[in-house]
């Protein structure tokens, strides 16, 4: 790996590029394979530095068919301890699948844990405060979820 941001988010990636950017890098071509729902932050940031960015759709992120009745049964009996979100799309799609009312009910009883700040902002936009994972990895998300649940129980 030639360049790894200190944080796993788009802003940190752009900042890391900017820190090592040389005038001779102007016009360098950058290939950015991304999700169909990738936010424009990375491509726009690199373009602003002077790169020629080719963003290509590498995969599609779509809503999934949940067993909503089963989800609602768990929500109704307050049976969920925490909800993990590893992307803003997961926030959007879970809210869409459950409906805003059940989404609200879910997160009024269960802790929301977000993998990073972008995902936490998507929750904040819907009025929910998330705990951000100690590191933007699935391992970090899991460890933070454990800590949150232990604190809730204490």
């Amino acid at each position: 790996m030639d360049l790894v941001p200190h944080e796993a988010n788009a802003a940190a990636l752009i900042a890391t590029f900017a820190a090592q950017w040389q005038p001779s890098d102007a016009g360098v071509r950058v290939l950015y394979p991304a999700s169909s729902r990738a936010l424009p932050t990375i491509a726009a940031g690199l373009t602003q530095l002077g790169a020629q960015v080719t963003q290509v759709e590498a995969y599609r992120t779509e809503g999934s068919a949940l067993d909503v009745d089963d989800c609602r049964a768990w929500i109704a009996r307050g049976g969920v301890g925490a909800v993990t979100f590893a992307s803003p799309s997961a926030v959007t799609e879970l809210a869409r699948a459950l409906g805003e009312e059940d989404f609200e009910r879910l997160l009024s009883g269960a802790a929301a844990v977000a993998i990073g700040r972008t995902t936490a902002r998507e929750l904040a936009a819907r009025g929910h405060t998330a705990v951000v994972a100690e590191s933007a990895t699935l391992e970090g998300l899991a460890r933070t979820t454990l800590r949150v649940l232990q604190q809730k129980r204490a």
Binding site: T16, P33, G63, S64, L66, E93, L138, E139, L146
Partner: protein, 115 residues
């Protein structure tokens, strides 16, 4: 690790199976899980990525921000996935550097690096 007693289950909303990486991490910490995959990851039209990868040497950088992107690229690299250090992979990736938004991208992208 054994299951942590008296904890309500943790919902996993990412696209994964009951043996997926986040579920495994949670279970390894003793947490019960519920799988509610709100999103799914499906293949994109392979044309644009395949065309870009065919011209990989013309790029100074390739930027990854998700493990799904890494997987898609490795799946569609021309010919067989390059073995690290092979002359073929070195020629293809000579001008290509890797950046990733997170340590989880480092392992698979190593396969694309020339030694």
């Amino acid at each position: 690790m054994s299951r942590v007693p008296d904890l309500k289950p943790v919902v996993v909303t990412r696209a994964e199976t009951s043996d997926g990486p986040l579920t495994r991490e949670l279970k390894s910490l003793g947490l019960p899980t519920l799988l509610w995959p709100a999103v799914s990851v499906t293949p994109a039209d392979p044309g644009p990525l395949t065309a870009a990868l065919a011209a990989l040497r013309s790029f100074g950088w390739i930027v990854f921000a998700s493990r799904n992107a890494v997987a898609a690229v490795l799946e569609r690299l021309p010919a067989a996935p390059p073995a690290c250090g092979s002359r073929r992979s070195a020629r293809r990736a000579r001008k290509c550097c890797i950046s990733g938004a997170g340590p989880w991208t480092s392992c698979p992208t190593r396969r694309m690096r020339p030694r």
